[in-house]
């Protein structure tokens, strides 16, 4: 069996599932001090005084520091995405000094010999606050005369970003059907299984002092550079290690104040310092996701052919701009058109400051929000015209023979086959049968109504071509690096800059190397997540690992084979042109017996006794791959829900996901990603919401209030695939990390609205809680 396409169990799972591994919190070097943070109980307040004296006198306490104590050295947390020239970018101190701007912002810290003493001493820190008016509501925040989050800026609007293509005014004016909707993407808390944790060990002193920082991060390489920029500790003195990391979903694509402060405290105290957050602390202070108000207007003709789309967004930034905060909603700008053709499009987004936890990337980052809006609109259009929602999509989508296709949003979709994925999904779902049952239940006025929701999504993966990031004013590139080292014994080490935090790179990358080099799977070891081991990398986010990092590895393997081929040809006294490579062996065409294994070549390259002219010893290669284009997974998801109209409870009865993620390296990993993605997307539709009260206090600080579904709440998922290889890379891969999350939310909400439409319901705000469904039914029925 070839390794690419082999559903292999993941070799990293034994240690990840048992937890007997290097989670950051499992690491406690001798002499480690423990940090605890005092956090603001106010959404917005002036800090008049912080008295740390009593806390300092507590047993086992080594240091107690306020923001003022660190003001000279702590710098400001970075934002890498200046989306417009006039974007308002407030200074963001790792620890608040004069003013707190969200509940949960760090105000002081205790460093103690054990964690209990550190947390106990927090209670003896006395802070005088003068409360300031909190800015909680985005729409009010942009009104004239609104209270300000940052008083020196004179506005709560950070930026307004515009994209326009085609004559939208004409499209709207001439269209017989114009649908306008307001959708709210509620604020979500990413909730990785492993909370944030950081350990910093200092070594030496003075200008040659070195630091090793372990962090539960997705981005060891970016973090290293940014820590250096913020603290002015030279980059080469900082080693960042992302050991085993237990999930992130974007929340660990960040440079956190606690990471900067770990470095500063370790430098100040000359001892290892460690901090691990509690779940409630994480809910308040790790960045949040989504939180947009979308006003969308769709123009179409009487046949349902789309003429134009207008998108007006307010995006909640929270109190500060963090690493990519302002750019997240703009990733959606390229996706609101979905898989559909249209003549005109306009997108406007205003980033708004509020006194809430900063937002940033969360699984899908901008694309789920966009996909939700367009897929909800397509169902609304179908209902308006009395046409089946599948049919209205068919009339508008890009046909498979039209690829490559330049979209109205300025992207070039390389490949796709929406017809094939949809046909497969309809058959698995038994669409016609469910429609018949729906009709029957409606006629019987069954208290349990059936609804069917459709989502024919696409998304952009493989972040990203560096030149595109440059054109969007992003602060870095989107390449990825891979090294392949064939060791003297013929075993293989692969080094990747894209470090997994649960995705299974160690297995998938070994499969790619095994396949390309013709060596056994077990002979490949994948190294990652340590800037001393993998010095170059752009890390893990945006479904980029395989489509960029995997392709880097593929090319690095080919480069090794190329070098090995030259050596083999030399040793076999044959021309390179007469050599074939397969199954890990170079053979001379037509001479069966004459050949060398790649292991033999590696030995020869190591000994270097007899190498061809100009060929260097050892068998290894490095490739930094910068993609030419994004990749565009797509698929058709169908969801059937049963809505109990008496209680408002929604039960998912059937869920079919047919995804086209291009070539599949490991089908089991892909299926796992789809399942997890569906769970998270369904959770946005039905369960999750970060709720703030009118004073700006987060009320969902525990999992009793912030509801996550478990396996018991989710249906059986019927998953399948079509496989249209990506044209933009030699592996043909697209990316699968976010597809399920992007596709599923609108499928579920469309199904709920479809169930209730005869009662006059046209929308249910997310999450569609039982009470909200019940309320929508009462209000819909009253219309």
């Amino acid at each position: 069996m070839t390794e690419i396409g082999h559903a292999r169990l993941r070799s990293e799972d034994t240690r990840l599932i048992t937890g007997r591994t290097r989670w950051t919190d499992n690491l406690t070097p001798a002499g480690t001090l423990h940090v605890a943070y005092l956090r603001s109980p106010h959404a917005h307040a002036r800090i008049d005084n912080v008295d740390v004296e009593a806390a300092k006198r507590r047993p086992n306490v080594v240091a107690v520091l306020s923001g003022k104590d660190l003001a000279e050295e702590q710098g400001a947390l970075p934002c890498a995405w200046q989306v417009t020239e006039d974007m308002k970018l407030p200074a963001h101190p790792p620890m608040a000094v004069d003013e707190v701007r969200y509940a949960g912002e760090p105000v002081a810290c205790v460093v103690a010999r054990d964690r209990y003493s550190a947390v106990d001493a927090l209670e003896d820190i006395d802070v005088d606050y003068t409360p300031l008016p909190p800015v909680v509501d985005m729409e009010q925040a942009v009104q004239e005369g609104a209270d300000l989050v940052h008083s020196d800026m004179g506005t709560n609007a950070s930026y307004t970003w515009v994209f326009e293509q085609g004559d939208l005014d004409a499209a709207m004016r001439d269209a017989p059907v114009v649908l306008e909707r307001r959708f709210v993407q509620q604020r979500l808390i990413p909730t990785a299984m492993e909370p944030r944790a950081v350990l910093c060990e200092p070594d030496g002193s003075g200008p040659t002092m070195d630091f090793t920082l372990h962090s539960a991060t997705q981005i060891p390489h970016i973090l290293r550079l940014m820590l250096s920029v913020v603290t002015e500790i030279p980059e080469h003195r900082i080693r960042v290690v992302a050991p085993d990391v237990g999930g992130g979903f974007g929340s660990k694509l960040q440079v956190y104040g606690e990471e900067v402060l770990a470095l500063l405290l370790a430098r100040r105290l000359g001892r290892p310092v460690k901090w691990t957050e509690s779940r409630s602390e994480g809910n308040m202070a790790a960045h949040h996701g989504r939180d947009q108000i979308q006003k969308v207007t769709l123009a179409a003709d009487r046949d349902g052919i789309i003429k134009g789309l207008k998108v007006e967004l307010l995006a909640d930034m929270g109190a500060y701009l963090m690493l990519v905060t302002p750019g997240v909603p703009l990733l959606g700008a390229f996706m609101f058109n979905g898989i559909y053709k249209m003549d005109a499009y306009s997108f406007t987004c205003t980033g708004v400051f509020t006194n809430k936890t900063p937002t940033d990337a969360y699984r899908g980052a901008g694309r789920p929000e966009a996909t939700f809006a367009i897929e909800r609109l397509m169902d609304e259009l179908a209902a308006e015209l009395g046409v089946d929602p599948i049919e209205v999509r068919r009339r508008n989508w890009i046909r498979h023979e039209e690829f490559p296709y330049d979209t109205i949003a300025g992207l070039t979709y390389d490949t796709g086959n929406y017809e094939a994925a949809t046909e497969k999904a309809l058959a698995l779902f038994e669409y016609d049968k469910l429609r018949a049952e729906q009709k029957d239940r409606r006629e019987r006025r069954d208290p349990v109504q059936l609804g069917i929701g459709v989502s024919t999504y696409t998304e952009m993966c493989g972040l990203a071509p560096s030149r595109v990031l440059g054109s969007l004013s992003y602060g870095a590139g989107g390449w990825e690096h891979a090294s392949v080292r064939v060791l003297p014994s013929g075993k293989v080490e692969v080094v990747t800059g894209s470090s997994a935090h649960g995705q299974g790179h160690e297995t998938a990358w070994a499969q790619i190397a095994s396949d390309r080099l013709g060596v056994p799977f077990e002979d490949v070891k994948v190294l990652h997540g340590d800037t001393a081991v993998s010095p170059k990398g752009m890390d893990t986010y945006g479904s980029r690992s395989l489509a960029v990092g995997g392709v880097a590895l593929y090319r690095a393997c080919d480069k090794v084979v190329e070098k090995a081929k030259a050596i083999a040809a030399h040793l076999l006294e044959a021309s390179e042109d007469d050599l074939d490579f397969g199954g890990g062996r170079f053979s001379v065409r037509g001479v069966e017996a004459a050949g060398l294994s790649i292991q033999e070549v590696s030995q020869a390259a190591f000994a270097a006794h007899d190498l061809p002219e100009g060929v260097e010893p050892t068998l290894d290669s490095d490739v930094t791959h910068d993609p030419d284009n994004f990749s565009f997974p797509h698929g058709t998801h169908l969801c059937a829900v049963e809505v109990d109209t008496e209680t408002g409870f929604t039960k998912i009865r059937e869920y079919v996901a047919v995804d086209d993620v291009g070539t599949v390296v490991n089908p089991m990993i892909v299926e796992g990603q789809v399942h997890g993605g569906l769970a998270q997307g369904i959770a946005q539709a039905l369960y999750e919401e970060a709720v703030y009260d009118a004073d700006g206090n987060l009320t969902t600080t525990t999992m009793a209030d912030y509801l996550l579904p478990s396996a018991a709440d989710l249906p059986h998922f019927t998953t399948d695939r079509t496989e249209t290889p990506a044209a933009g890379n030699p592996l043909g891969v697209k990316g699968v990390g976010e597809a399920g999350t992007i596709a599923s939310t609108p499928a579920v909400v469309n199904a709920i609205v479809d169930a209730l439409r005869p009662s006059g319901v046209r929308d249910v705000p997310m999450p569609c809680t039982p009470e909200r469904v019940w309320t929508a039914l009462r209000e819909g029925g009253a219309r």
Partner: protein
Amino acid sequence: MIPPTFEYLRPESLDEAVRMLPDAGEDAKVLAGGQSLMPLLRLRLAYPDALVDLDRVAELREIRDDGDAIVIGATATHHQVVRDPLVREHAPLVAAATATVADPAVRHRGTFGGSLAHADPAGDLPAVALALDVVMLARSASGGDREIPAREFFVDWMTTALEPDELLTGVRIRKPGPGWGFHYEKFHRTAQAWAIVGVACAVRRVQGAVEDVRIGLTNMGSVPLRASAVEERLGGGTLSDSALREASEHAAEGTEPPADLHGSADYRRHLARVLTRRALTAATTR
């Protein structure tokens, strides 16, 4: 994550536990599984001086036959209760409701008596205790043994009739005679979540007529409540569909349901009516 400092006491027998409790002070708490108490400590919402851990008191874990009743020991775990043949035969409502408590991990640590003594009106078991009219068995060093009927046990939000030095040792549940039907109807958003509203009902019918009916409501006030207005309407009558429907409309009478993220007070009143009808229907349909 990090509870405040407390004294930790671990008696080995019931006698020792009862002796220890008064000495542990007014602010001592009994630890009986810790599935509610430990989160309160971790979030620093409770600062007890001492915890008296019942984990080693083996005699409190027993479930035994007591003639015309069964007695469930206070520290029998939920898991134990759900699987116990005596409970399944003689207190099927307890078994059914307990099976809905949180998740398997919680059910392996959490205890029957712990849930009742915690007296959270959102917990499933207090309403069941009301519907079954159970008797709480308590003991103290000063007062000896005392029996407290369920209807007198829950006095306020998370407050019971137990004295500070008194320990809940077990619960006596009468074996039902013929004609009884039971059901617990729980409404929650996810399998692990608290009930938004729950309805526990016990109905005895003789030749079609309702001889006895008790309905306990979960999370409809500061204490678990009986749906007395429904009970009154059904008593003695036959259980026609329309009678049941009409009576259930009164399920929220006299309740003061909370409002929170998962449901407004109005919605809870509505749910109480719907769920009472469903619970009664299920209890009387075999």
